[in-house]
């Protein structure tokens, strides 16, 4: 009864009953960022926290305080505390948001947790850090902003595949991408492009809807996702409405992209010079190597004359039939680029009452790629709604609808892909003067002119459109069964419908081989649904013990459906749908499924708020595994000790936080083919119209998930009232039972089997620092992250895996290590390409002799494709209305292999492809010391895959730069606008690298796999983008 009276008393005091010795203070509390009112802000008297009240829904307050009160304290979650001296009867306050506080509550698997009590390793990126980045997808926006999370696009085409590595690569043959969870539901993040070049499934997410991204890195954090957590887990949480007045936010931005870099190629004079020299080189070789008993050439001069004729006839052909070869000097690379404008519009509405909150958003984004013919559009809508039906029962939904359109290009390995235009000769005119048409366009000469199919012909005469319609959402109900026990049920759906429509017109015949047009149309449908049910129990007992238990189950089902039709022989190029194709040349339909049934539990226990213990486990069963090994159990445990709460450190004033933590746990990787354990025959082996079947896959009923045991030790710290804070962590991930595509003798009629074979580890350090360098009117904050990762494959049963030129998997080395012949330059005596023998001598030493016989040289480790060190640093400045923020991102210690080198940097020994400028330094006469062997037309002199085409791939780039100005409210209030900010956002503004190619952020799309890394093959460079925009709040 006493307690009730006290409450009543407090309530009454809030209702501002005036006592004589007191005074009343009124005012309004607003958000410094946009001037919007902040409801529910606690307003108290400094030193007497029991005296005070809260702001109303319109942000106003009125409190009665003792006459002696001097200072008011304003506190609100997510904002920095403000102390305001009382002077007079009113006090209006603007609160500044505090990103550190925003991350106070961290989203974890199946729940949330206070950051201070966290014992796992979780990196967080907040909305503020990614909003408005002028890129296509969310991975690009978070690049460089989370320690130990390395993100790399394949190339500069829009909406294309992006590789994310969380703490290195944990698998050789199975998936290496993290699990992606949006609002508690696992979504499909597998590429569904029907071509060999991947597209990015996360491009369907409007990242301006995202409130936070949490990346679960260690086993303690991720093991609750069990068999799919080895590669880390990305939890994306979308924005929710807040109780209060409705807010409207509108932003618009417009800008342009340019290629980040250019590669230098030969001009006409240089091209003629090197090709003529190649003719001389080949003639000499022909003469020297001919059979003396049956000579073709009677003298060297005869051979030289013969080749001179061949080369000169080719020059004439490539000069559009003109013998004036120097009439043109075309920089074909420039022709591959287009003006690339982009624009983006976002509109958000949010608000709510104490019962119901909502967030509604829409986005229209329209980007043109920097490479000709490439474009991307996204239209998205979202509704996040929560309502309390009763005091203990809440329901809601988070749903988004997205339509993306991608005007795609051929993969990097096609003559039609724009970047391959650089192979064309500078002596070839863009417009063929004989026809007035773009060179190579029928009815003009097209079969062997220009040198290759001219990608410019595809513009307007061919297209490849991908339309994706995706619904991503969930409905949930949360029932507070008892005060300490709640139950949550979620049903989530991720439905993607993708249509890929392409047509290659009659003028592209040289590229397609079909003279009267060819087309293809495919539909892919992916439906994935998830049911999560779990209990959460939270209790504090005996004062010092805090317990937080989560337990439940999850069922996930995935169904993939695909159909495709191809046609050719179209009546004319005006007809582009397969309906008009006289020949339906191909068609297919396919389906696939998988499922997971899982049970999970987690208990977090804290004693006295400073001794932390967390245990979690998941039991996963998947349709993908062999019948002999269907269930897997993935436990994890972690401990933490908050030293700064100990009495012996409480008095150390500069220390605001010090926490030690350690974790250990098991996670799995189940990302393999859906039916990899089965022995299979496939019915796709017809012959001359008769159906047939073929042996397709060899069985492995023992197949199971990869297991990663991860240990993580770390320290979190904060100094000077957390003005300087950060964390340092060490981890080691041991992965065994690798799901490996093991090469088996092909005499079995098949080349590989999926086996659990092999071991590897990733080991590294991560450092995160965040500092408020300057506070006050001029604010400067810095956040820094750096990571070191070492990846070593320790056991493969002695196998060497790999299919492309140099990337291999070998015991004792990093996955995808460059392994091959070591190039030794040109033989000064004769210009032959030389390779180091690198064979073992009988005494065990390595023979560093040189040979011109490629086969005689041994393969050696030549370098790593994945960086050792990655990191980023972001500096943010605020002064009056101005804000400036920029992020440098870097990767160090990796090499890049130029797969196109055998053509573009081949000392003109592999055809007439135009050469990179450095090839001019070729061996010309005995005695020349150079790394470029003698040009010998079609003699492949030094063009084999070797270290010749490797170069340092380290880089540092100014990833993002934002400069904004918030217009003072005074100027805006008359217009009825709460807030307006003008800004400029830039992306990839500066690049510092030794790499000689286009862009060091590269992995040729057509061949990119876990193993095939760091390969450049006519890959489009990253865009350098600058946009200008405005953000308006009402």
């Amino acid at each position: 009864m006493k307690k009730t009276l006290l409450t009543l008393f407090l309530l009454l005091s809030c209702a501002s009953i005036v006592f004589a010795q007191n005074k009343v203070i009124t005012g309004k509390v607003t958000d410094q960022k946009d001037g919007s009112p902040l409801p529910g802000v606690s307003v108290t008297v400094k030193g007497s926290p029991s005296i005070g009240g809260q702001t109303t829904i319109s942000g106003t307050y009125s409190i009665t305080v003792p006459a002696t009160a001097k200072t008011l304290v304003f506190k609100y979650i997510g904002y920095k505390e403000a102390n305001v001296t009382i002077s007079g009867a009113t006090a209006d306050v603007q609160l500044e948001s505090d990103p550190k506080q925003l991350s106070e509550v961290v989203v974890v698997g199946y729940g949330t947790q206070k950051r201070s009590s966290l014992t796992g390793s979780i990196a967080t990126v907040t909305a503020k850090e990614i909003e408005g980045t002028p890129v296509t997808s969310i991975e690009q926006a978070i690049q460089g902003k989370a320690a130990g999370v390395f993100i790399q696009s394949n190339n500069g085409k829009l909406g294309q595949g992006i590789k994310i590595s969380v703490r290195g690569t944990s698998s050789v043959s199975a998936g290496t991408q993290p699990l992606v969870v949006v609002d508690g539901i696992i979504i499909n993040s597998t590429d569904i492009s029907s071509t060999s070049a991947a597209t990015d499934p996360l491009a369907d997410i409007n990242f301006n809807d995202v409130e936070s991204v949490q990346i679960l890195k260690d086993a303690a954090a991720s093991a609750i996702y069990g068999a799919r957590a080895s590669n880390g887990v990305i939890l994306i949480t979308t924005k929710k409405g807040k109780a209060g007045t409705a807010k409207i936010n509108f932003s618009a931005q417009y800008g342009n992209s340019k290629p980040s870099r250019h590669r230098k190629f030969l001009n006409t004079k240089q091209f003629l010079q090197i090709e003529e020299r190649a003719g001389v080189g080949a003639a000499t070789q022909d003469y020297l190597n001919q059979d003396p008993n049956d000579p073709i050439y009677g003298s060297l001069q005869e051979a030289l004359d013969d080749y001179k004729g061949i080369v000169e006839r080719r020059f004439t052909r490539l000069s559009a039939g003109s013998t004036n070869w120097t009439a043109n000097d075309v920089d074909w690379e420039k022709q591959a680029y287009q003006n690339a404008p982009q624009q983006q519009y976002d509109l958000n509405l949010s608000g709510g009452s104490d019962k119901t909150t909502y967030f509604i958003s829409g986005q229209a984004l329209d980007q043109k790629g920097l490479v000709i013919g490439n474009a991307f559009k996204r239209y998205s809508g979202r509704l996040n709604l929560t309502t309390k039906m009763s005091t203990n029962f809440e329901v809601g939904m988070n749903v988004s609808f997205v339509h993306t359109f991608n005007d795609r290009l051929g993969n990097d390995n096609l003559f039609s892909t724009p970047m391959q235009i650089v192979a064309l000769s500078p002596i070839t005119p863009v417009i063929d003067p004989r026809t007035g048409l773009i060179s190579g366009t029928p009815p003009g000469q097209s079969s062997n002119y220009p040198l290759y199919y001219n990608p410019l012909i595809s513009i307007g005469n061919a297209y490849f459109h991908t339309n994706v319609y995706r619904t991503l959402g969930n409905v949930f109900a949360q029932w507070q069964i008892l005060k300490k026990l709640s139950f949550r049920s979620e049903f989530g759906i991720d439905q993607t419908n993708q249509n890929e429509d392409s047509y290659y017109g009659s003028l592209t015949a040289r590229d397609t081989g079909t003279p009267n047009g060819s087309g293809e149309n495919s539909n892919t449908s992916v439906v994935q649904f998830t049911v999560n049910n779990y209990f959460t129990y939270k209790d504090v007992f005996a004062h010092d013990h805090t317990l937080d238990v989560t337990a439940g189950s999850s069922y996930q089902y995935y169904h993939f459906m695909f159909n495709d039709i191809q046609g050719m022989q179209f009546p004319s190029d005006a007809y582009k749908q397969i309906a008009s194709a006289a020949v339906k040349s191909g068609g297919s339909s396919q389906q696939a499924e998988y499922s997971f049934v899982s049970y999970f539990a987690r208990a977090n226990y804290a004693f006295k708020g400073k001794y932390l213990l967390s245990l979690s486990a998941r039991d996963d069963a998947s349709s993908r595994f062999g019948t002999n090994n269907r269930y897997g159990f993935f436990p994890a445990g972690s401990v933490g000790w908050i030293l700064s709460e100990e009495s012996f450190l409480k008095d150390v004033t500069y220390l605001s936080n010090l926490k030690l933590k350690a974790s250990y746990g098991l996670t799995g990787n189940a990302d393999i083919g859906n039916y990899a354990s089965l022995g299979l025959f496939s019915g796709d082996a017809g012959y001359n119209g008769l159906a047939g079947q073929r042996f397709f896959q060899i069985a492995n009923p023992n197949l199971k998930w990869e297991r990663t045991a991860q240990v993580d030790v770390g320290v979190d710290f904060g100094f000077f009232n957390n003005r300087l804070s950060g964390s340092f962590e060490y981890y080691r991930k041991n992965t065994r039972d690798l799901l490996l595509q093991v090469n088996i003798p092909q005499t079995l009629g098949i080349g590989s089997q999926t086996q659990n074979l092999g071991k590897l580890y990733n080991q590294g350090f991560e450092l995160e620092l965040s500092s408020d360098n300057l506070v006050g009117k001029f604010k400067w904050t810095t956040s820094f992250n750096a990571a070191y990762n070492k990846n070593v494959v320790t056991y493969l049963n002695g196998q060497v895996l790999g299919t492309n030129d140099l990337n291999r998997v070998i015991e004792g080395q990093q996955i995808g290590v460059f392994y091959g012949r070591e190039f030794a330059g040109a033989d000064p005596a004769n210009g032959d390409a030389l390779y180091y023998l690198n064979t073992k001598n009988s005494d065990g030493t390595v023979n560093r002799g040189k040979t011109n016989d490629f086969n005689a040289a041994s393969d050696v480790v030549l370098g790593n494709p994945t960086p050792k060190y990655t990191g980023g640093i972001t500096n943010t400045f605020n002064f009056k209305g101005f804000d400036l923020s920029f992020t440098w991102q870097g990767a160090f210690g990796n090499k890049i292999y130029n797969g196109g080198g055998q053509y573009m940097s081949s000392n003109a020994s592999n055809g007439y492809d135009n050469q990179t400028l450095d090839q001019l330094n070729y061996w010309n006469k005995p005695g020349d010391i150079t790394n470029v062997p003698e040009p010998r037309l079609f003699y492949a002199n030094g063009t084999n895959a070797s270290s010749r085409y490797l170069s340092d791939g380290s880089y540092v780039r100014l990833k993002t730069l934002t400069f904004g100005y918030t217009i003072p409210k005074l100027l805006l209030s008359k217009l009825g606008i709460d807030r307006a900010r003008l800004f400029m956002n830039a992306y990839n503004l500066v690049l510092i690298t030794k790499y000689k190619g286009w862009d060091p952020e590269v992995n040729a799309d057509y061949q990119a796999t876990n193993i095939n890394l760091g390969v450049d093959f006519y890959s489009a460079p990253q865009p350098r983008t600058i946009v200008f925009g405005v953000n308006i709040g009402l």
Binding site: Q290, L680, A691, F695, I698, P745, T747, F938
Partner: protein
């Protein structure tokens, strides 16, 4: 009392919620998901029809582009036609064949090996299940499977082993012999290389059984028949230097009377447009190519891009100069729209990929008889003149061995890898190299040696 009530309410709620969770137990059967496009191996061959579709699958694999789609013959010729062609393609692995410097990592070489054994495994699956086949089909089924298996072994041993007439074939290494279908991967999967003579013996055994079991040739056949097996045996015996048997087997094909030389040489290479054309009367065995199945790799490499090819292999004028003046076969070599000289033999992208045709059998019989001094079937001159007459050339009634070999060049150029294989069996130089040079033998793919340590690499690799 109040406590009890609360307990009860709690229990009800708890049980309800728990029930929702436990419903998931029923989902366990959802873990048994079977593929849609494939069927399990254990269910794949259960009936007579299953055996037949597996046999069709063997033809499908044989028609892959690196095998009888053409690659197996094109690659052999690339090693040996430097004097008469100009390779201007961008596939480095092929350029290196023309330079007679094949890396042991060559992808084309690996595909010949891998696809060859895929055919062998298909055939082995058929042969292991003959008991399921209806009695009426059993002999034919066995014959077709052994025909394909024998054909593949013959070509693999020719490419990956030293020539039969080079040193001791009973010592020289050929390729591994596998005669059972694959079901598991175990140590038995690592098979050593058999000797060249063992592989020849296996091929002869398969082809001889095939000849005896297959039905007689009939017009319009596109599966293997008795004549197909005899024709490959004739080629094999000629390669081996067993001229008596070569003449007998060639004669076995010719005397069926089912096959006729086309009246015009160009009719053997029909190109009514990019459409499939059935075998001509001259085709003894060809892999069928349609716009649905099969690939014509001859077209890929030899045809101009005017005709859907890559235009990689350009014919040198020197080659045309070697024809006799009135030879109509020269009409199959023309400049394309860009003025580059190509052969027009493979202009139809959906043209069948030739394996063996009647003209070759006449030339085999002529050569074998000539070498033996016999006239099995007919005299060498008569056989030779059949070919010459069709080419619009005057008769040669006193042919020499050189005349017959020259006729082979002009008649069969670029069709069956004869530039390499004939040079080897006649011990002729190949672009400056001795016929026995290790550089004219494919390397065992490095990848294969890594997967099977029992394999011994060829010299020079």
């Amino acid at each position: 009392m109040i406590n009890n009530y609360h307990m009860k309410r709690f229990k009800t709620k708890y049980i309800a919620a728990l029930g929702i969770t436990l419903m998931l137990g029923a989902c366990n059967k959802q873990l048994d998901l079977k593929p849609y496009q494939q069927i399990e191996q254990s269910q794949a061959i259960k009936t007579a029809t299953d055996v037949q579709i597996t046999l069709v699958g063997a033809y499908n694999r044989a028609g892959l582009s690196d095998l009888y789609g053409g690659g197996v013959f094109v690659y052999a010729d690339l090693l040996a036609t430097q004097q008469i062609t100009d390779f201007q393609g961008t596939f480095q692995g092929l350029t290196q064949m023309t330079k007679q410097a094949i890396p042991n990592t060559d992808g084309f070489v690996n595909s010949v090996w891998a696809d060859g054994y895929a055919v062998i495994n298909q055939a082995n699956n058929v042969l292991a299940n003959l008991k399921l086949v209806n009695a009426a089909d059993a002999a034919r089924t066995e014959g077709e499977a052994k025909f394909l298996r024998g054909l593949v072994y013959f070509d693999l041993v020719r490419l990956f082993g030293r020539s039969y007439n080079d040193g001791d074939p009973a010592v020289n290494l050929g390729v591994p012999i596998v005669l059972t279908p694959t079901t598991v991967v175990n140590s038995a999967a690592q098979v050593s290389r058999a000797t060249v003579s063992q592989v020849y013996a296996q091929a002869i055994s398969d082809l001889t059984t095939a000849e005896s079991k297959l039905p007689a040739a009939a017009s319009g056949d596109f599966f293997a028949n008795k004549a197909s097996a005899a024709a490959i045996l004739a080629r094999l015996y000629l390669q081996k230097g067993d001229y008596t048997k070569a003449a007998i087997e060639a004669d076995n094909v010719i005397k069926t009377g089912v096959f006729q030389l086309n009246s015009d040489y160009s009719d053997e290479f029909p190109y009514p447009g990019q459409v499939h054309v059935d075998n001509t009367d001259e085709d003894v065995f060809a892999l069928q190519v349609t716009n649905q199945q099969g690939t014509n790799a001859f077209n890929t490499y030899y045809a101009s891009s005017d005709n859907a090819g890559r235009g990689d292999i350009i014919i040198k004028q020197e080659f045309l100069d070697s024809f006799e003046p009135d030879d109509t076969r020269i009409g199959m070599y023309n400049e394309d729209s860009g003025g580059t000289l190509y052969t027009n033999k493979f202009d139809n992208v959906y043209g069948n990929a030739h394996v063996v045709r009647l003209a070759e059998l006449y030339l085999i019989r002529a050569e074998a008889n000539f070498r033996l001094g016999t006239a099995k079937g007919d005299t060498p001159a008569n056989d030779l003149n059949k070919i010459r007459e069709r080419a619009g050339l005057p008769d040669n009634n006193t042919p020499t061995l050189a005349n017959i070999l020259a006729e082979r060049v002009h008649e069969l150029a670029f069709e069956g890898g004869f530039f390499l294989h004939d040079a080897k069996r006649t011990k002729a130089k190949v672009n400056g190299l001795d016929y026995s040079s290790p550089r004219l033998v494919f390397p065992i793919p490095l990848r294969e040696i890594n997967a099977n340590p029992k394999l011994v690499q060829n010299p020079g690799y």
